[in-house]
Symmetry: none
Subunit: 441 residues, 2 copies
DNA sequence: GCCTTTAAACAATACA
DNA sequence: TTGTATTGTTTAAAGG
C-alpha cells in the first residue's frame, strides 16, 4: 500500500472503528492518527461498497490480483466487515461482488502444483485499473427492459443478446422457481406456448418491488457522485503509470497475460451458471457455459464493457496458460481447460498442449475454444467441470461456439430460460442436437 | 404433524423415491401424515430454506434427531424438493446445511455394531429447539447467540464486538438493520434472565419488522414473522414437553448420549471457519479449529451457548466414544477423534484413548482440547483437518482460543493465513504482528 | 428506478 | 456415502 491502496477505509488500523465509536456514542479516543481522510472517512467510514473495497484490495498489490482469501484478508484488515468472527456473511458478499462485477476477472492459477488448487486468482480488469469500477449492479442483467430490442444488428441477434443479458442465469434465490418450472414441465408437458412465461414472472417481481419501495426515493442523495459514476477512478485508480497495463495499446491485456506469443487472446463471455440451470437444474459439471462472444478477439478498449454485447471475461486456454502466454480471465465454461492447464496433470497437460497448439499458432479464437474444450473433456480429472460430463449429450466435441454466429447465440438463447425449454423430461440432447456444436451445450 | 412438523410445505403426494418408500412404512415418525395444516402451507410454499426444512424435520420427532436418510425422506415427503427423482441436488443442499449450520449437531450412533454404521445421527441443538435456527450462510460457527457480552473478560473486547456487530453490514439496507436488530435481541434475550420465552423474542422481532417496513407494509405481509426473526422458534419450536431434553438439568445432553459412564462430556467450541477468516481467510485444512473453550465440561444449562466463549460443539473423544460413554456432537475439528472412535481404527483409537485419558480424568478443557488436538493431529487420517496440518504454525498445542483472550486471537491469526506458508507474496505475518491479537483489526 | 447488502439456492470441488 | 469446507454464480428481498 505504500504507493497504492491509499483508499483503505480504515487507514492503517482501526480508525474506522474509532469513528464508529463516535457514532455509537462511546468514543474511545484511540487518538486518531489519520486526520487527513477523516473528512471522507466519516462519509464512508464503512459504507464503502464491497466492490470498492475489493477494488482497493486488488489495487493494493502490484499485479492487481489476489486470491479470494487474500481479498478476505485485506478486507478483514482494512475494514470492519469482519469484526464479528461468527458472522461470515460479508464473505458471501465479497464473493458475490467478485462474481457479479465485471471488473473482477478470474484467472486460473499459474502453477498448479502448489497448493492453490482450488479457486482462481481474481484480477482486476485492465479497464478497471484505469477507470475504476462500476457498481456491481451495473453488470447485472439489465432486467426490466423487457428485451426491448433496440440494438439490433442482426435483426434478432441484438435482441438475443439483450435477452441473454437479461435472462442469463435467472435462477434465483429460487431455485424453487426453477424447480417449480421443472415440475411443471414434467407434469403438464409445458402445455403453454413458449416464452412469455418468464416475462410475466419477472414483471411481477419487479412490480412488486417497485411498489413496495416507491415512497422511498428521497434518499438517493446520500452519495451522489458515486452513484452513477464508476467508482472514482482518480482516487482509487492506479497511480498513473502502472507497470502492467498502462499505456498499452491493448490495455486489456496485461504483460504476462498478454500472450507471450503476442497473439490475441481468446475471450469468451461469461454466461454463468445459467447454462446448467437452463432447465435441468444442473448437470453439475457445467457451471458455466459459454454463452456469448461478440468477438473472439479483443482489441478494443474498455468500452467493451458497456456495449450491448456485454462484458467479456477472458479465457486462458490450457496450454497457453501454462506457458504463460495464454490469455487472461476466463469464466467457468472455460474452467475445465484452465484447470487442466493450471493443475498441469501430466496427461492432461500433454493433451491440452497438443490441443492448444493450434491456438498458439493463431487460430481464431473460436477454434481455440473448441480445442480447449475438447482437450479437457473426458480427461477425468476435470470430471464434473465440463458440461458433457454430466449434461447428458452435451459434449465438447466441437466448438463450444460462443460468439457471433447466430448459431451460438441462438443456442444459448434457447437454452436459457427454463421456461423456454421444450425439453420436458430432459430431452437435452435432441434439443441441442440441431444446434449442433452449440453450447457447450 | 399435528404437533410436529406442521409446517410441511407439501403434502405427501409425491412418492418418487422407491428407496425411501420402503423405509417410509417402517418409520414410526411418518405414519400419521399431515392431514391439514394447509393453512400455513400457503405461507411458505416452497422457498423455505433448507435449514428451516431440516429444522422442521428434526422438530417433528420427539428426540429431535434423525439420520440423514430420514431427513431426506422427510423432505421428500413434505416438500417438493425431491419431486424430480433425477435431481438429487437437493440432497447435497441438505448435507451442506447439516454440516454448516450450527443448529445441527451430529452425534455418533449409540450402537456401532448395529446397522447404523454409516454416518451420524443429526440432532437439533438444544438452543435451536428453543430459539430456532439461524441461516446457514451467516453463521458457520455454532451459536444461537453470538458470544454475548456478560463476561467480558477483556474489558474492551466485549465492547468492540458489540459495536462491530451493529456496524457490520450497515449499508445494506434492511438486511443490515435486520441483522443488527436480531443480534441485539438475541443478545439481550440471552443475557437476560433465562426467560427462555422464545415468544417475547419473536414478538419483538415482529414488531420491529413492522415498523421498519412501514411504508412497504403491504409486501411485508407475505411472510412477516419469518422475515426478521431467526427462523421462527415458536411455530417450529418443539412442542412444549419433549421427552429428550425437556426438563433435564442438562438439556444439552440427550439421553443415550450423555455418557453412559456418567462422565461429563467434553465440549469444544466450534470455531468454524470464523477463526480462519479472522484475518486470513482460511488455513484450509483446518476447517474448524477449536476456537474457544470456556469450559471443558458442560454441566450448565443451555446457557452455555451464549456465554462469551461462544457456543460449544460437542466433541467425542476417541476412546470415550467408542465405549459408548462419549460425548455428543462434535464439529469438524473433532471429527478425527470421533471417527477414530466410531470407525475404531486400531492405532488411532489407541492413540486417542491414550490422549484422551487425561481428559476423562477431568482435565480442564483447555488441556483436553489440547490433548485432543495433539492426539489427532498428525494422525495422518485427518491430514488437512487440523490447523497445524496446513496452517503452518498453527497447531493444537494449546487452546486456539478464539474469543476474549487476545492471546487466542494471535494464535489463530498467525497460523491461519496461508501466506504464512511459503508464499511470501504479502508480508502477511508482520502485518499482523503489530496488530497483535486484534486482527481484524 | 438504481445501488448495496444480505440471504440463500445451487454447483462443483476437494478431502476425508 | 456421508460430512465438511471452500469457492463461484446467480436471484431476489429489502431499504436507502
Ligand atoms: Mg467477475
Ligand atoms: Mg452442524
Amino acid at each position: 500500500m505504500g504507493q497504492n491502496q491509499s483508499g483503505s477505509p480504515l487507514e492503517q488500523n482501526w480508525s474506522g472503528y474509532e469513528e464508529f465509536m463516535k457514532e455509537m456514542n462511546a468514543s474511545p479516543s484511540t487518538e486518531q492518527q489519520n486526520q487527513l481522510d477523516d473528512s471522507d472517512q466519516a462519509s464512508q467510514p464503512d459504507d464503502t461498497p464491497y466492490a470498492q473495497l475489493i477494488y482497493q484490495a486488488l489495487m493494493s498489490v502490484d499485479d492487481h490480483q489476489m486470491i479470494l482469501r487474500d481479498i478476505y484478508k485485506w478486507i478483514a484488515e482494512n475494514t470492519d466487515k469482519a469484526i464479528d468472527p461468527e458472522f461470515t456473511g460479508w464473505q458471501n458478499s465479497v464473493r458475490h461482488n467478485l462474481s457479479m462485477n465485471a471488473a473482477f476477472n478470474k484467472i486460473p492459477h499459474a502453477h498448479p502444483g502448489d497448493k492453490a488448487k482450488k479457486g482462481f486468482i481474481w484480477a482486476l480488469d485492465p479497464s478497471a485499473i484505469r477507470n475504476g469500477i462500476q457498481p456491481t449492479t451495473r453488470y447485472r442483467a439489465k432486467k426490466d427492459d423487457p428485451k426491448s430490442s433496440s440494438s439490433g444488428s442482426k435483426p434478432n441477434k441484438g435482441r438475443v443478446q439483450d435477452i441473454l443479458r437479461q435472462r442469463s442465469g435467472r435462477r434465483g434465490g429460487q431455485a424453487a422457481s426453477r424447480r417449480a418450472a421443472r415440475e411443471v414441465l414434467q407434469r403438464h408437458d409445458r402445455e403453454r406456448e413458449r416464452g412469455r412465461d418468464a416475462h410475466s414472472h419477472r414483471a411481477r417481481h419487479h412490480k412488486r418491488n417497485t411498489s413496495a419501495t416507491s415512497t422511498a426515493s428521497s434518499v438517493a442523495e446520500a452519495s451522489p457522485s458515486v452513484l452513477n459514476a464508476p467508482y472514482p477512478p482518480p482516487p482509487f485508480a492506479a497511480p498513473a503509470p502502472l507497470s502492467a497495463f498502462e499505456d498499452s495499446e491493448r490495455e486489456d491485456v496485461g504483460p504476462g497475460y498478454s500472450g507471450a506469443n503476442g497473439l490475441p487472446e481468446l475471450w469468451i463471455r461469461s454466461g454463468g451458471y445459467g447454462g446448467g440451470f437452463r432447465g435441468f437444474g444442473m448437470g453439475s459439471g457445467m457451471s458455466t457455459p459459454v454463452t456469448s462472444g461478440d468477438e473472439g478477439f479483443r482489441t478494443d478498449d474498455e468500452e467493451d464493457d458497456d456495449e450491448e454485447g456485454g462484458y467479456f471475461g477472458g479465457a486462458v486456454l490450457g496450454g497457453a496458460s501454462s506457458s504463460g502466454g495464454g490469455a487472461l480471465v476466463h469464466t467457468s465454461a472455460a474452467t475445465a481447460a484452465a484447470h487442466a492447464a493450471a493443475h498441469n496433470a501430466a496427461h492432461i497437460a500433454a493433451h491440452t498442449a497438443a490441443m492448444t497448439a493450434p491456438f498458439r499458432m493463431g487460430l481464431p479464437s473460436m477454434s481455440a475454444a473448441g480445442v480447449m474444450g475438447a482437450g479437457v473433456d473426458g480427461e477425468g480429472d476435470m470430471g464434473g467441470y465440463l458440461a458433457g460430463e454430466e449434461g447428458g449429450g452435451v459434449e465438447f466435441n466441437g466448438l463450444p461456439r460462443a460468439g457471433e454466429e447466430s448459431g451460438g447465440w441462438e443456442f444459448v438463447e434457447e437454452g436459457f430460460g427454463y421456461e423456454d425449454q421444450e425439453h420436458e423430461g430432459m430431452g437435452f440432447e435432441q434439443k441441442f442436437e440441431d444446434d449442433e456444436g452449440g453450447f457447450l451445450g
